[in-house]
């Protein structure tokens, strides 16, 4: 049984068809790369899955439930988490508070008002900060971080709710080669408890961390399969890889 199954997803903006019957299947503990040329609809498909955009047609099923009409809040509570393409950490809060904010999202109103869960969540917050090499900056404002560290903080925040599926939209955008390598290392451990859908332009990065790939072109799925299958696919080589 797949964890996520998006089928027949179309998204039309006025006269522009961004997605035209796209599909995506992600299994438990699978790292799935979503690749394609600029404008192929990768980010739009991610947004349709996460609830940031409502698809014009199609269905999104998550853990065997139709979540097509769910709000982003309901999807997050069902176990889905999104890291936005544009960094959206909360700049005036400390790193610690950014992760605590993400961790406590499902606490009850009573627990929030009486701060009953911050003791319980402390270890989890510190574990994430350490895992993403940010613990020594825990009390600094997020705005003071370098771009790459902000991306790591954002991923840590997306993981704070213990999601079953993490959607990462260009997590290494603007990073140095070394930061990209570290990002790959940081993501590997989450495979033990979480699946990943990742949109990324860096094909080496994608090849290194993903189990399966889906290639989009002009809003349609061009090919889907293992990394080796996609590398051997002539259509992909023709339309995408060679161009890249």
């Amino acid at each position: 049984m797949p964890l996520l199954e998006a089928s027949g997803i179309s998204k039309i903006f006025g006269k522009l068809t961004a997605l035209d019957g796209a599909a995506l299947v992600v299994r438990e503990r699978e790292f799935h790369g979503l690749i394609g040329p600029n404008g192929s609809g990768k980010s739009t498909l991610m947004k349709c899955i996460a609830g940031a955009e409502a698809p014009s047609r199609g269905e999104v099923r998550f853990i065997n439930t139709d979540i097509t009409s769910f709000t982003p809040t309901e999807r997050a509570r069902a176990g889905m988490s999104l890291k936005f393409q544009i960094t959206s950490v909360l700049p005036t809060l400390t790193l610690y508070d950014n992760i605590l904010l993400a961790s406590q999202a499902r606490s009850s109103l009573f627990d929030l008002v009486f701060s009953r869960t911050r003791g319980v969540l402390h270890d989890q917050v510190m574990t994430l900060l350490t895992q993403f090499r940010l613990a020594d900056r825990a009390h600094d404002a997020a705005a003071t971080l370098a771009h790459g560290q902000q991306q790591w903080l954002e991923i840590a925040m997306a993981l704070a709710g213990k999601p079953r599926l993490l959607l990462l939209d260009e997590p290494t955008g603007g990073m140095s080669p070394e930061e990209r390598r570290v990002t790959g290392e940081l993501l590997q451990p989450i495979k033990q408890h979480c699946s990943l859908v990742i949109v990324e332009h860096d094909l080496d990065f994608i090849r290194d961390i993903c189990d399966r790939l889906t290639v989009l072109d002009q809003g349609r799925v061009l090919a889907s399969g293992t990394v080796a299958e996609i590398q051997a696919n002539k259509d992909v080589q023709e339309i995408y890889l060679r161009r890249a």
Binding site: P72, R106, R118, T127
Partner: protein, 353 residues
């Protein structure tokens, strides 16, 4: 395993803390709060009676400003109609006193608070609880329209006294004691201000306060974490409405008069200015802003009778242009203004032992 990692990280954090302490003192806010409380406590002892009456008005308006600051400064909800709750509660208790002869403080203040709360639930439910998040403009215009409509209703409805409002309201009572303007009313208002201030302080420093900070900074982002952002907004809006209702009830009995401006756009704008002038997102800023704007208006209107509104307007513009975080930002740093929400040092020690 996790605990170990957490422990190592704690040690690293602890190592980093002295560096933070090496800078300027971080705890300016408690000093400001303490000084404000001391100054407020001695006002009736050092000021002439007519100035104590003025100071009482300022204290009640500061309570009203706290309600707006909670809603706008902490939750980012632009309520341009906060006077709707303030004035409606004022009218409500005035009618209780006029028509039912109910003036007991134990009844009128809770009822005034409930009027503010109920109206905020109704308006907040309509403006904030849609399936999609409401835009700032929608909420600003919706609240403004609510206040404007209430103002027109007050002016046009004979039962509410029309343009003249309701005058000569009987004094608020406790048993046979009547609360007339003066030191006793002042200390009553100050006591309630302190209680509400401490309540708001507790709220904005809790994990709920952290959620509000997230709401204010990036509502869409926190929805993707799983927060019911609209519910949070409606709750804060309602709490703000209740506090405004309490302030409006106190104001009505203090002034022995309610009038349509009290429920409309004029007073709604006034409270926005108090908070912007003092510093939104800080409770002390709201109180300081109210005291300075009202104090300046009082002094200027005495000394520059014809042009005082222009002078006040220019001063307000200067502050908003050059100190967008308000006057309190002269002494309060960004870090302390935003605050921290993790475990306190005491909680950390308890967790470690």
């Amino acid at each position: 395993m996790n605990a170990n990692i957490g422990g190592e990280a704690d040690a690293m954090m602890a190592a980093g803390e002295p560096a933070e302490r090496a800078g300027l003192p971080r705890k300016i806010l408690p000093i400001i709060e303490g000084l404000l409380l001391i100054a407020a406590s001695v006002v009736p002892l050092v000021l002439a009676d007519y100035l104590t009456v003025f100071a009482t008005r300022v204290v009640i308006l500061a309570l009203f400003a706290l309600s707006f600051d909670l809603v706008w400064g902490y939750a980012g909800i632009m309520s341009f109609g906060q006077a709707l709750f303030f004035g409606s509660a004022g009218y409500g208790v005035a009618l209780l006193a006029r028509d039912l002869d109910i003036t007991s403080i134990l009844v009128v203040l809770p009822i005034g608070t409930l009027i503010g709360l109920a109206l905020a639930i109704l308006l907040g439910g309509f403006l904030l609880l849609g399936r999609q998040p409401s835009s700032v403009i929608f909420v600003a215009l919706g609240t403004l329209t609510g206040a404007y409509a209430a103002d027109r209703l007050g002016r046009g409805w004979y039962y509410l006294g029309g343009q003249n409002g309701i005058a000569s309201i009987s004094p608020m009572t406790f048993g046979s004691y009547e609360f007339a303007e003066g030191p006793v009313y002042y200390y009553l208002a100050l006591g309630l201000l302190v209680i509400v201030y401490l309540f708001c302080r507790f709220l904005v420093r809790s994990q709920f306060g952290l959620a509000l900070a997230g709401l204010r900074e990036n509502e869409q982002r926190i929805a993707f974490f799983g927060y019911k952002a609209q519910h949070l907004k409606a709750i804060v809006f309602t709490v703000g409405g209740a506090i405004a209702g309490l302030a409006g009830s106190l104001y009505a009995f203090h002034e022995v008069f309610v009038w349509p401006d009290m429920v409309g756009v004029v007073v709604s704008t006034q409270v926005v200015l108090y908070v912007l002038f003092g510093g939104s997102g800080t409770l002390a800023g709201a109180v300081v802003g109210t005291a300075i704007v009202e104090g300046l208006s009082f002094w200027l209107s005495d000394n520059y009778r014809n042009i005082w509104p222009i002078i006040l307007g220019v001063l307000l513009l200067l502050v908003i242009l050059f100190r967008p975080l308000g006057l309190i930002s002269f002494v309060l740093g960004e870090r302390e203004r935003v605050g921290r929400f993790g475990l306190t040092s005491k909680e950390k020690r308890n967790a470690a032992s």
